[in-house]
């Protein structure tokens, strides 16, 4: 897919950095985890009795003279609006921001019926004048410059408007006030519908929602059914977190609670549009917790690289992918699901604790079931990875082919021209010969320990086994030095690539084979966060066998195990002389966002070095690897890698450490392509070098 031009990329990157800073400040006095737990509880509790609360809401609105319409689909919702317009003898409608009206395609429908529609949210108005679609759910015109806005205004008003932002805003104020006065009907969205009071909560900054609700003689609220909440207390629970997560504010300029008025007709249209089906689906129902805060979009690395135009869906980002599957069908959502890196960053930021990345994996499974698996998935996963013996053979053959593909310093030759996009931005590693398991047997890397303090198994994973055996050797040396009797596991795939691609059966079969060798292990240590996540979190979900649970309980990343053994005393193991080399640390996505192990690894690294790491900008920004993602989306992968390497160079560090062999493949290969002298290593390699006094 086409990535953004440098200007837009820099706008989005500036926005993302600013968002994180403002959000952090806005959450200073709030326990975010507790607050979002509360939001999730409120939403789940309400969703369990959604029909009941909708009935209460409808009755309360009716008591106050308002009218509620229940629309099953978008056509019905649009017809209701048209009916109200006709009943009110109005041909001019002003709107405040409403995502649901984007979902129903209301503007185009009403315009086709001869009704003039005017957006009043500044960003939406700009987009309307330019006949574009929003590129962000909260900041619809984020992709435009002031010059482009001035051009749109000049063209519309037929006079020259200078590209000066305060002037542009003043022009909008004057023009939109005139439009609001002219309108016969005002249409609003809703952030919550409160059943006990029959009122609508509106959260805005510009204040156009207030004008639209106050000036036109008739008001319409268009909202989706899951916005209903039992009490005002519940709405305030949401309000604690919504502005901070959406725009980094403690609260927006205006929060209005509106009830129907006997002097001004209020019509409330509640749209279902497949939400009842989502609610009935035990896997996906948590989607309906969503507050539409856009945080998942704001922190999505793929959105940063692509912008909103190419999403081609009303709701963008992770949550948008999931909603699109129901609203526009599996076919459309397949393309969006392929855009997910699986970094899980959205889950960490989600205001309602929706397991977005996990649900996207589940969606891929539904897509595979509903539309059939693509050929490559059947070959790679069902015929390859799922069959442990065959998988080992394939990788062993690759290893044997090293002399044919290897160039120097462990890198492979360039791919043929037709495949150049896969190694344009990063040199690929050559397969190792021999792989780790054979190397250990041959070189006796595993020293004998007379009285071992503990017996552990090192689960090496495919990348360490077949591409980076030196990492496995380093880990074995470190463990031996610390009195741990360690052996590498038999070569086996944890099954994650298949699982992540929605091929659950293949993943389960691969994993079952991998677990055989781990069954008796007292402790299982890992060198790859993705394998760890598979063994620890996903495994017990896809394999009901008791062994999966037992293994899950015994798995730890190696850095966490070192801390378990020594705590901060680990420092005493290293030579006193501190290396002068400047080292920075890259937080791998699964290590940080899924395992929460990044802080421990960073600390272990710093204790080993005897000094702080030299931080780079956004150390937790994804490097763009994402396993199969980097093959499916090579352009996005390259764009993210470029950002990471730029940050790395700006930091001034001579070496970058990380805990994921996948990130290592990407970053080391990227440095190679840039002919950089900077080195990339797994954290355990640096710890090993320090213990041996080699660094």
């Amino acid at each position: 897919m086409k990535t953004l031009d440098p200007h837009l990329k820099s706008v989005l990157s500036h926005f993302a950095e600013n968002y994180l800073l403002k959000r952090k400040a806005a959450l200073t006095d709030l326990d975010f985890e507790a607050a979002r737990e509360e939001v999730a509880n409120v939403k789940d509790r309400t969703l369990q009795e959604l029909d009941r609360w909708l009935e209460v809401f409808e009755a309360k609105v009716g008591e106050r003279g308002g009218k509620v319409y229940r629309a099953r689909g978008i056509a019905e919702a649009n017809r209701f609006v048209l009916h109200i317009m006709k009943e009110s003898r109005a041909d001019y409608l002003v709107k405040s921001k409403s995502m649901v009206s984007e979902e129903t395609g209301l503007n185009a429908f009403l315009e086709s019926q001869g009704i003039t529609v005017r957006e009043t949210d500044l960003g939406e108005w700009i987009i309307q004048l330019r006949r574009e679609k929003p590129t962000h759910m909260v900041m619809p015109a984020i992709h435009l410059t002031r010059e482009e806005v001035a051009d749109a205004f000049s063209c519309y008003l037929k006079k020259n408007i200078p590209p000066d932002i305060p002037t542009l805003v003043e022009v909008a104020r004057q023009e939109l006030r005139r439009d609001i006065c002219r309108a016969g009907v005002g249409l609003l969205g809703a952030n919550a519908l409160i059943a006990e009071s029959g009122c609508v909560m509106l959260v805005t900054n510009e204040g156009n929602g207030r004008l639209v609700s106050l000036i036109p003689p008739v008001s319409i609220v268009l909202a989706s059914v899951e916005k209903v909440l039992p009490t005002i207390q519940d709405a305030l629970t949401i309000l604690k977190i919504l502005p901070a997560n959406a725009t980094g504010q403690t609260i927006t300029s205006y929060v209005s609670f509106l009830t129907p008025s006997s002097s001004r007709p209020l019509h409330i249209i509640l749209l279902d549009n497949h939400r009842s089906e989502i609610l009935a689906d035990p896997v996906f129902r948590t989607i309906l917790r969503c507050l539409k805060c856009s945080a998942c979009l704001n922190v999505c690395p793929v959105y940063q690289a692509l912008g909103g135009k190419d999403y081609g869906a009303i709701y963008m980002g992770g949550i948008g992918t999931l909603l699109t599957a129901w609203m526009d069908g599996l076919r459309k959502s397949r393309r969006l699901a392929d855009l997910c890196l699986g970094c899980h960053r959205c889950e960490v930021f989600c205001a309602a604790k929706i397991p977005i990345a996990d649900l996207i994996i589940a969606l891929r499974e539904r897509v595979n079931q509903g539309l059939g698996k693509p050929f490559w998935k059947r070959i790679l996963f069902d015929s390859g990875m799922a069959k442990a013996h065959r998988w080992r053979k394939i990788l062993a053959t690759l290893s044997a082919a090293r002399p044919l593909v290897a160039r120097k310093e462990g890198f492979a030759r360039r791919l043929p021209l037709a495949l150049r996009k896969y190694d344009q931005h990063r040199a690929l590693p050559a397969p190792a010969r021999p792989p780790l398991s054979r190397l250990v047997k041959r070189k006796e890397t595993r020293p004998t320990i007379d009285t071992p303090k503990a017996r552990v198994v090192l689960f090496t994973g495919c990348l360490v086994e077949y591409f980076y055996p030196e990492i496995g050797e380093a880990a074995l040396r470190v463990l031996a030095r610390l009195g741990q009797e360690a052996r590498p596991s038999e070569p086996a795939c944890c099954g994650f690539p298949a699982f992540n691609s929605g091929c659950r059966d293949a993943a389960a079969r691969a994993m079952r084979s991998a677990l055989v060798d781990l069954e008796e292990a007292e402790r299982i240590l890992t060198l790859c966060p993705t394998c760890t996540a598979m063994l620890k979190h996903h495994g017990p979900k896809i394999l009901s066998a008791e062994i999966a649970q037992r293994v899950a309980e015994r798995v730890s990343p190696i850095s966490a195990y070192l801390f378990e053994l020594y705590g901060n005393r680990i420092q005493t193991l290293f030579p006193r002389r501190k290396p002068s080399i400047k080292v920075t640390y890259h937080d791998s996505c699964h290590h940080k966002h899924v395992l929460g192990a990044s802080r421990g690894s960073r600390l272990a690294l710093e204790l080993a070095l005897g000094h702080k790491v030299q931080e780079m900008d956004s150390p937790d920004a994804c490097c763009g690897f994402g396993g199969i993602f980097s093959v499916v989306q090579p352009e996005v992968s390259a764009s993210l890698l470029e950002d990471k390497l730029n940050a790395l160079e700006r930091s001034g560090a001579e070496m970058v450490a990380m805990d994921c062999p996948g990130c290592l493949l990407q970053i080391r290969g990227g440095l190679r392509r840039r002919k950089s002298s900077r080195r990339a290593h797994h954290t355990i390699e640096i710890i090993d070098a320090r213990l041996a006094g080699k660094l």
């Binding site: 706008v11 500036h14 926005f15 600013n18 006095d29 009043t120 500044l122 960003g123 700009i126 900041m139 619809p140 015109a141 984020i142 435009l144 410059t145 002031r146 806005v149 932002i165 305060p166 542009l168 805003v169 003043e170 909008a172 104020r173 006030r177 609001i180 006065c181 409160i194 006990e196 009071s197 009122c199 900054n205 510009e206 204040g207 156009n208 207030r210 004008l211 106050l214 000036i215 009490t231 005002i232 207390q233 305030l236 309000l239 604690k240 725009t247 403690t250 609260i251 927006t252 300029s253 205006y254 929060v255 209005s256 609670f257 009830t259 129907p260 008025s261 006997s262 002097s263 001004r264």
Partner: protein
């Protein structure tokens, strides 16, 4: 939280949101401030929300007649309103709207002056949940509503640059009354 700290926090939060805060000791001083504000602004028209007159009767002499049409409301230059509560954590003004005129007064003026008593400041909106629910359930009002207003109207829709006054007030000036705090309050 000790009241004096609540007040300080309210002021700093309100200022951070872009509101201006003026501390005044009583209604006479408030009236004097409104008068001098109008003088300095070139004597614009002043819409006084009806409920303000209960607290600041003298404001009647400064007020223009209430607008009658929506076009007249749109031309409002300065309004004088009264908040029922203040929220210290966010610098928010809470108004229990009793009529549409009150809501229009808060929304349409270029500059909105708002009276707030220091005794009405609480920490956060959660403390007011029963009050808000009771108000929204009132049967004696045609259209009960609640407004939480924090700073002036704002947008960052063009290049992310923050600009005040895109739709609502460009300035929000909070006239904080009875700002002097007694020792009893401090020990509360």
């Amino acid at each position: 939280m000790v009241r004096v700290r609540l007040i300080e926090r309210f002021i700093s939060s309100a200022q951070a949101s872009g509101a201006e805060v003026v501390r005044l000791t009583g209604t006479d001083e408030a009236l004097g401030f409104v008068l001098s504000f109008l003088e300095e602004s070139g004597r614009p028209s002043l819409v006084v929300s009806p409920e303000v007159l209960d607290q600041l009767a003298g404001a009647a002499s400064l007020a223009s007649p209430l607008p009658q049409t929506r076009e007249e409301w749109m031309r409002t230059e300065v309004s004088l309103v009264r908040a029922d509560y203040g929220l210290a954590r966010t610098g928010t003004l809470v108004h229990l709207d009793r009529s549409e005129e009150e809501r229009l007064s808060w929304t349409l003026a270029s500059a909105c002056l708002c009276l707030l008593s220091t005794e009405s400041i609480v920490d956060g909106a959660e403390e007011l949940a029963p009050v808000l629910a009771a108000h929204l359930g009132r049967r004696d009002l045609l259209s009960p509503a609640v407004s939480l207003v924090t700073g002036p109207s704002r947008t960052a829709d063009i290049e992310g640059q923050l600009i005040c006054g895109v739709h609502g007030p460009k300035r929000l000036i909070i006239l904080l009354l009875n700002a002097s705090t007694s020792p009893t309050d401090e020990n509360a």
